[in-house]
């Protein structure tokens, strides 16, 4: 009886989580830009009052170098004894994020922001386990609680301090990756690994563990 009841509560909580999750997702992805002040009337070629033209920014067009990135090279999460190096990674042919094979190395999504970026999420992910390397340090991410400190060292030697804001287990089918891999919002750090139940037929976990952290001011 108690087992069945506990399962029911868990299911309800999960449904609530998905609901909260869903609404949060749509709120995040549908910010309407306020209508411009001059949107009162659609202009017609013959009409005398044409829409006003605002000031225009001007830029050069000389072929130039890409804005340099500052790759993160090491992450330390003292509360759970994580202190591992970071390699830059991209995507695999199937469009999923590339990850270092070694569970003792985290991957930084090199197409996205870095810890020195003014906006967006720096994405660090590592295999939770491996048939070759065994259980990895990111398996301990789920033991973390909000408020825990972590730091990331970048290639220029700078140390970026963060405070963990949330730890969540999200079904892979539900995770809003375009929101997680953000480029334009406030600077954050997101740690990703796998968790939840394991499907032995596909060799995949059903959930991602997502840890978000915000920069320590100063």
């Amino acid at each position: 009886m108690t087992t069945a009841k506990a399962t029911g509560v868990a299911a309800a909580a999960l449904a609530a989580a998905v609901l909260v999750f869903g609404s949060g997702c749509s709120a995040a992805t549908a910010p309407e830009r306020p209508a411009p002040s001059s949107s009162s009337a659609a202009p017609t070629p013959s009409a005398a009052p044409r829409p006003a033209v605002p000031d225009i920014p001007i830029q050069g067009t000389t072929p130039g170098a890409q804005q340099p990135t500052v790759p993160p090279v090491r992450i330390s999460v003292p509360d759970v004894g994580i202190d591992i190096p970071i390699d830059p990674v991209g995507v695999l042919d199937d469009g999923t994020m590339e990850l270092p094979a070694n569970t003792q190395v985290a991957g930084w999504y090199e197409f996205g922001p870095d810890p020195a970026s003014a906006t967006g999420a720096t994405i660090l992910a590592a295999h939770v386990d491996s048939l070759v390397y065994g259980l990895g340090p990111f398996s301990r991410l789920r033991e973390l609680a909000a408020g825990a400190p972590l730091s990331v060292t970048t290639a220029d030697g700078a140390v970026h301090d963060y405070t963990i804001a949330s730890v969540a287990k999200v079904p892979k089918a539900e995770i809003p990756l375009d929101t997680v891999f953000d480029r334009s919002g406030p600077p954050t750090l997101v740690l990703i690994t796998c968790g939840g139940q394991f499907n032995r037929d596909t060799g995949h976990y059903l959930d991602n563990i997502l840890v978000t952290a915000t920069p320590v001011a100063g």
């Binding site: 909580a13 072929p63 995507v91 469009g95």
Partner: protein
Amino acid sequence: MRTRMIAGTVAGCLAVLGLAAAPANAISPTTADLYVLHAVPATPVDVYVNGALTLDDFQPGALAGPLDLPAGTYSVAITASTATDASAPVIGPVDLVLAAGTSYTAVAHLTEAGAPTATLFTNDLAKTAPGQGRLTVRHVAAAPSVDVLAGGAPVVTALTNPNEAKLDLAAGTVSAAVAATGTTTPVIGPADVSIQDGVNTIVYAWGSLADSNLALAVQTIGGLQTAPHGVPAGEAGLAADPDAEPLVWGAGVLLLLMAAALGVTTVRRVRRDSSAR
């Protein structure tokens, strides 16, 4: 208890992430983005939009914008930079019809024969695949048909003024050059062009072959990226939560035991009943 905590943290997580998502481009369901590129060599100009001076002393090779404009038709006239009004344009006036939710670049340039003209291009803002960027090449030079070479090999062939070609490429640096169609000897470049994830890099071949001032101009429009389709970060099941199956099995055993217990009780009752008689 633990599940409730996770529900809370999911909400918290999204509260943090939800602050994100300013649109990379200013276009909206009611407005268009307009850029203006000056690609007529050696001639500073003034640009009038709907009769009002909008760009003063606009220099060759400069890119203005984006303007976030309500959808509609705009009259554009380009004059010598010494003009005091739009009455004697060197290009136009032309009517630009701008649709909502669309990005445009209006280019003042030379025709293949070398006469000043203007062309309105539509910028492709379709999302790019994870890890890819877009290369758009536009021929706005006083020059015949060209091929575009990437790393020495033609990727665009027989491109003529005032047309464009585009392709999506893996992010990285491309050594780009422009050659007369059917040849591989560059008339422009080679120059390193950066292809960035989620960015449409628009390269203009402009100037005049006869005047030996052919050049490349580069415009970039970002925010087209797609996140990776997933983060498969485990393969051994060593960190797995307990499977659902043993739980089901356990519940089944419990039911069987309960049924058995009930059965025993019933039998006993029956026996007691029968013995009472």
